[in-house]
């Protein structure tokens, strides 16, 4: 099923490894990426393996922007909506870069290396836009902005057995790395590897950053597969990455967040720190709140037969269009037909009944709690 690769498409250092293992490849934001691995049994099996054991994702297409210099904190504070001054060295924070009107340039994870040194991890599809945005909006600060995206192969090791898998290959005591913290250590013989306890699957897990040469990337990928064998490790593609993140209500740029949706609407205001000082988007968001937020991101579950999908219209019970689905799927772990959708605030209450237009037919759906999946707390 694999089409030949276009000459101008980008490839991660693990591209040959994916193709050799028979992965189904797709063009994702200009990158030739694995969507699923038939050798594992496909998307559903990959999804369930990450919930029950451990899965490996090649996420090298993600971008990395370093902001360093004496005014690095000031620059990051101005660029992002969360309060980076609260970060300790070695800590990471979910945040977002906003346009002056309070909508999203992108969501980012801010890592603090030192008082004058930060790393912003950004999406693949928005990389050029983000790098330019960061450069253009930090000229007034004494900082250097570097696009480090091509220097790293980034591998996500996700699932309840992620820690046991990675522990076999590193001298770092991973039990001491808390969620949303990072450290540096030796992994598979490579020194000074960045190891972050972050991820995009709603599971515990790690993201490691290793040099982006193909031989090294290939070796570490295979060593991880070997180390995770006893836990049922699988390589996992973009297909299961999407269903996993959707079960956990983790937003995706171009879907739940975009340049047409503001922070209040997206329900991400718990990461918005209005009292930290000025930042891009602050004034518009203050005004938007005073004016009243008109639509909300909700969870929907179809109560008649049918699967809601991205872009489908949401209707009221009279058949009037009132909103749209941002992401929707059959959920492999929960075994339910669920979606995230924007609807008017007055239609957003739990248990409210609306309809999703599925192939020209209104299919009834109920507003349900939108964090569909929460990982179980560890008993130990």
């Amino acid at each position: 099923m694999n089409p030949p690769v276009e000459a101008n498409i980008r490839k991660t250092a693990l591209n040959a490894t994916h193709r050799q293992s028979g992965a189904k490849m797709v063009d994702y934001s200009g990158w030739d990426m694995p969507v699923e691995y038939p050798s594992v049994g496909g998307l559903m099996k990959e999804h369930l393996a990450v919930r029950a054991g451990v899965g490996l994702f090649d996420v090298s297409h993600m971008g990395d922007i370093r902001v360093h210099g004496p005014e690095a904190l000031k620059a990051v504070q101005y660029l992002t909506m969360n309060d980076a001054s609260k970060l300790n060295t070695g800590q990471a924070q979910y945040s977002a870069m906003l346009y002056p009107n309070g909508t999203f340039v992108d969501d980012v994870i801010v890592h603090k290396f030192a008082d004058d040194d930060y790393l912003l991890v950004i999406n693949a599809g928005t990389r050029e836009k983000d790098v330019n945005w960061v450069k253009d909006n930090t000229r007034q600060f004494k900082v250097t902005v570097e696009d480090l995206s091509d220097q790293f192969t980034q591998i996500a090791i996700q699932g309840p057995k992620g820690v046991d898998t990675l522990q076999k290959l590193t001298d770092v005591d991973l039990s001491k790395v808390k969620f949303y913290w990072f450290t540096r250590g030796t992994v598979a013989g490579l020194k000074n590897v960045l190891i972050a306890r972050t991820g995009y699957t709603a599971e515990d897990g790690f993201e490691i950053y290793i040099p982006s040469d193909a031989a090294t990337s290939d070796r570490v990928w295979n060593e991880l597969l070997q180390a995770g064998k006893e836990f049922g490790v699988v390589p996992a593609g973009l297909g299961s990455r999407n269903t996993l993140r959707l079960e956990g209500k983790l937003p995706l740029y171009g879907h739940e967040i975009s340049d047409e949706i503001n922070v209040w609407e997206a329900g991400l205001d718990r990461f918005l720190k209005m009292d930290k000082g000025d930042f891009i988007g602050r004034a518009a968001l203050e005004k938007a709140k005073n004016d009243g937020v008109k639509r909300a991101l909700v969870g929907l579950e179809t109560i008649e037969r049918g699967i809601p999908r991205d872009g489908y219209k949401v209707l009221d019970l009279e058949g009037k269009e009132i909103g749209y689905v941002t992401s929707g799927s059959y959920m492999p772990f929960l075994k339910r037909n669920l979606a995230l959708a924007y609807v008017p605030v007055e239609q957003s209450a739990l248990d409210n009944i609306v309809a999703v237009e599925i192939r020209n037919q209104p299919v009834k759906a109920k507003v349900v709690p939108s964090q569909f999946y929460k990982r179980p707390k560890k008993s130990s």
């Binding site: 099923m1 694999n2 089409p3 030949p4 969507v35 699923e36 038939p38 496909g42 998307l43 559903m44 999804h47 297909g239 269903t243 037969r305 049918g306 699967i307 999908r309 799927s329 059959y330 492999p332 192939r359």
Partner: protein
Amino acid sequence: MAYPADFKYTKEHEWISADGKIGITDHAQSSLGDIVFVELPKVGATITKGQSFGSVESVKAVSDLFAPVSGKVTAVNEELATTPEKVNTDAHAAWMVKVELTNPSELNDLLSAADYEKFAAEEAGH
């Protein structure tokens, strides 16, 4: 996976057997991935050659079912309502509807097993 020689096939990846049963091909189920929902017409409905008569949904995507011939639905495979994954395990046995053809000469426009196999391989880029 062998394509049964006594079936006829469409370029939209449906098959029809000699007794009028219609399903999707092994190539189609493999492209779709894990199938979780099959939407079919009711017994007595009429279907029209080339028109959509239902849909198949996998976790990844939804795909229309196109009628290989025109006719009246005389039976529906109810088993697929509860076990749609049977299409993944054996696409050429997991029939969807059975039809009474209104114009049997329409069968002449369809592909033979050998021609379909060639078409599917070309489409997959082999």
